[in-house]
């Protein structure tokens, strides 16, 4: 069967301004109807009373680990995790081995994503060759490749050399492509293990000051103004960065930003047990930063929720705190954390949440077939049960890795169905893998 009728759900699509109870019909890969009391025809009926239907989510920031660390994650397992989390598109970060700094690597990742066929796998290219921050990667060739790269970043590192940052921004203007920055002054952050503050001082762990992020964000905002380049700030974590962005936007800057669920959920208090699962970069910040990120998400300063999904092998996280690599899983908990932390307490409404998870990230990447529910367009759709309470179980995740800091945490809001190009990738809360799709 290739037709579905989702009946009686609240349909939330900020792109078209729609927020109403309606039926949604999916047939032959496309949305063929949105309206009240649509007939079922030959479609399989999904009773979605009390559920929410939204455009499938788009993650701007996913570490797929393939090529290079297929023991931690593959494009296939990340795709399955993404689908389980309600995503229909993800953007692969370039810090793989080899680095995605040429069109051949970009096309390989993109092609493997297509082969898996659970989500659109888009590719972010590196700004610099081997992420060295000094020699430009094959930017134009990646733009022109089959992968049609639109975003470039040295994520994992901030670009330290301001002249290199300026030159790449200038060059990217030719393609109207995005310069995406991991804002971190490397010298200030050197050997840092956690957010610098009362807790780092007490725990004897070297701190990463918020200023390491703030300084580079300020520089990039200035350089984007100078060059006219589109700027995207990755995983904004500090109050002052949010404030810088708010001011820059008020001045009309072409700047977008994202925040990760862990940065609006956890504070540096989580580090007190020295659990390496809580180690992430940028680090978990102070509660005033969490509040500022939350406000930024609500008032439009921050455009998107992005996971910074970063799988790590058990043996890598099971080390002494200072040796363990930073990063945590995100794809399968992003919706529920957003719902529990942002919507339930009333910081923002459902329509804004869908903007953050779908509409805006799709626009940022320039994905025409994502981020909206339009009749005639590809059916990238998620059905959410907003009242479902569930407990995160690391062992049952689709991801190949287990490094979630939220194991055992009870959350509200669950993905019930995901449709990717009109085909179910999640049904009744169960992920369908490659073989069954």
């Amino acid at each position: 069967m290739s037709a579905w009728l989702i009946k009686g759900a609240r349909v939330v699509d900020p792109a078209s301004g729609r927020d109403e109870t309606a039926d949604v019909r999916i047939a032959d890969g496309s949305i063929t109807g949105i309206g009240s009391d649509l007939g079922d025809g030959k479609a399989e009926v999904i009773d979605a009373d009390g559920a929410i239907v939204a455009p499938g989510f788009v993650d701007l920031h996913t570490h797929l680990r393939e090529p290079g660390r297929e023991d931690e994650e593959t494009i296939a397992t990340a795709s399955a995790g993404a689908a389980a989390g309600g995503y229909t598109a993800i953007c692969a970060m370039p810090n793989t081995d080899p680095v995605c700094d040429t069109s051949s690597v970009a096309e390989k990742v993109w092609a493997l994503g297509r082969e898996t066929g659970l989500v659109d796998v888009r590719v972010a290219g590196a700004l610099s060759r081997g992420l060295d921050g000094a020699v430009m990667a094959d930017i134009g060739e990646m733009v022109r490749s089959a992968a049609r790269v639109t975003m470039f970043t040295d994520d994992g590192h901030g670009v330290q050399d301001s002249l290199f940052a300026r030159r790449t921004m200038e060059y990217l203007v030719a393609f109207d492509a995005i310069y995406a920055e991991h804002c971190e002054d490397a010298a200030l952050a050197a050997d840092g293990q956690m957010h610098e503050g009362d807790r780092s001082a007490a725990l004897g762990l070297r701190g990463i000051p918020a200023e390491a992020e703030e300084l580079m964000a300020a520089r990039d905002i200035a350089l984007a103004r100078l060059t006219g380049c589109r700027l995207h700030l990755l995983h904004v974590s500090c109050a002052r960065t949010v404030e810088l962005v708010r001011r820059a936007k008020a001045e009309g800057a072409r700047i977008t930003t994202e925040a990760a669920p862990h940065h609006f959920t956890l504070t540096d208090a989580a580090l007190e047990t020295y659990d390496p699962l809580m180690k992430v970069n940028p680090p978990l910040r102070a509660s005033e930063d969490v509040d500022a990120v939350t406000r930024g998400l609500a008032d439009g300063t921050i455009d998107a929720i992005a996971t910074d999904h970063a799988p790590h092998a058990v043996e890598e996280k099971d080390q002494e705190f200072s040796y363990a690599p930073p990063g945590m899983l995100g794809l399968e908990t992003a919706l529920a954390l957003s719902f529990t932390q942002l919507v339930e307490p009333g910081h923002l409404d459902l329509s804004r949440l869908v903007e953050l998870l779908s509409t805006n990230p799709a626009r940022i990447l320039g994905l025409d077939e994502q981020g909206s529910l339009e009749i005639g367009s590809a059916a990238n759709v998620v059905v959410i049960d907003p009242s479902a309470r569930w407990t995160v179980d690391a062992s049952s995740l689709q991801s190949k890795s287990r490094n979630t800091p939220f194991n055992g945490r009870e959350l509200t809001g669950r993905v019930v169905h995901t449709f990717f190009r009109g085909r179910p990738t999640v049904q009744d809360g169960k992920a369908l893998n490659e073989a069954t799709v």
């Binding site: 725990l203 020295y274 099971d318």
Partner: protein
């Protein structure tokens, strides 16, 4: 008594006093011709040292042996062990499988004892973790202070030097503040975290304004490599501004004491004549380390045995 000793945060003033009182009783064992008690016979204690250490490891080893425990020493350079050896967790599980009762751990990574305590059933004693804590050092320092001052209340203690990287400072501040002492941290701002005021201590950058008032001047080792990190201009300037020499010591109160956790950099944080002066109790600190560590092993490993009341009685009788 507590199962693990990871941080001085865990100990109340009463518990600290109990540890020190017990150490006082045990200290006399050292003066007897046969310096051994049967308390921990059949118990196994492992010294797991990922950082080079002479005094702490030997002190713990001797403390365990004086209580008749079997002692295993396992030393590994933390860097080489990460590069090629067994992981910390596998080592922990190996020791657990061999039925070790207590693990005394020294590690360059802050929090390593906390992780170890989650992995094993044995008691974990922190013998120094990264820049975090060194609780047994703080307890032996409190013991040494108590030999000279009856009361910690209103005692003025200046801790001088590299507070930022010092586990000794963190544990001592907690212990001293818990016992009611008045602690001032002294050094250049690059070596004192601004957040240290939250620890209940005051901060000063001027040793000369503090020294005349202090009952105790506690000097910390200044690592020579800190000079290369641009935390201060030179060891010479450090010594001139924050070192304790005889000229500064002359301004100290008559009954005041000089302390240092060792190893010393003579000529940097402390001059040779000060370290050997009558006011220096640096060697007492070393000697007292043994009694305090015996006390902790006794209380943590012996105290919770079914026959513990009898053991305590036996012990007291032997000591009479």
């Amino acid at each position: 008594m507590i199962k693990h000793l990871l941080s001085m945060d865990q100990l109340s003033a009463d518990q600290i006093t109990h540890v020190l009182d017990t150490a006082e009783q045990l200290r006399s064992v050292t003066d007897r011709p046969i310096k051994k008690l049967p308390t921990l016979r059949g118990r196994t204690v492992c010294n797991l040292f990922y950082e080079a250490s002479t005094r702490t490891r030997i002190s713990f080893e001797l403390a365990a042996k004086r209580l008749s425990a079997d002692v295993i020493n396992f030393s590994a350079d933390s860097k080489s062990s990460v590069a090629k050896g067994e992981s910390f967790k596998d080592t922990a599980w190996t020791l657990e499988a061999m039925g070790v009762d207590a693990i005394i751990v020294r590690h360059g990574s802050s929090g390593a004892p906390h992780q170890l305590a989650r992995w094993v059933k044995a008691s974990v004693l922190n013998a120094g973790d990264g820049s975090h804590e060194h609780p047994t050092q703080a307890l032996l320092d409190l013991f040494s202070i108590r030999q000279h001052f009856k009361d910690f209340e209103a005692l003025k203690v200046a801790i001088v030097g590299d507070i930022l990287h010092s586990r000794v400072a963190r544990s001592n501040v907690k212990g001293l503040v818990t016992m009611g002492a008045d602690v001032t941290l002294v050094g250049p701002p690059t070596l004192i975290p601004a957040q240290a005021t939250r620890w209940g201590a005051t901060i000063s950058h001027d040793l000369d304004s503090v020294i005349g008032d202090a009952d105790i001047c506690y000097l910390l080792r200044v690592q020579k490599e800190r000079q290369n990190e641009q935390l201060f201009p030179s060891l010479r300037e450090y010594a001139a501004l924050w070192g304790l020499d005889s000229r500064r010591q002359a301004r100290m109160k008559p009954d005041s004491l000089v302390m240092h956790p060792g190893p010393m950099n003579r000529g940097v944080e402390i001059s040779a004549d000060v370290s050997e002066s009558p006011r220096s109790i640096i060697l007492d600190q070393v000697a007292n380390g043994l009694a305090v560590r015996m006390s902790l092993l006794y209380l943590m490993l012996g105290g919770d045995r079914p026959d513990s009341t009898e053991t305590v009685r036996e012990l007291t009788e032997q000591l009479v």
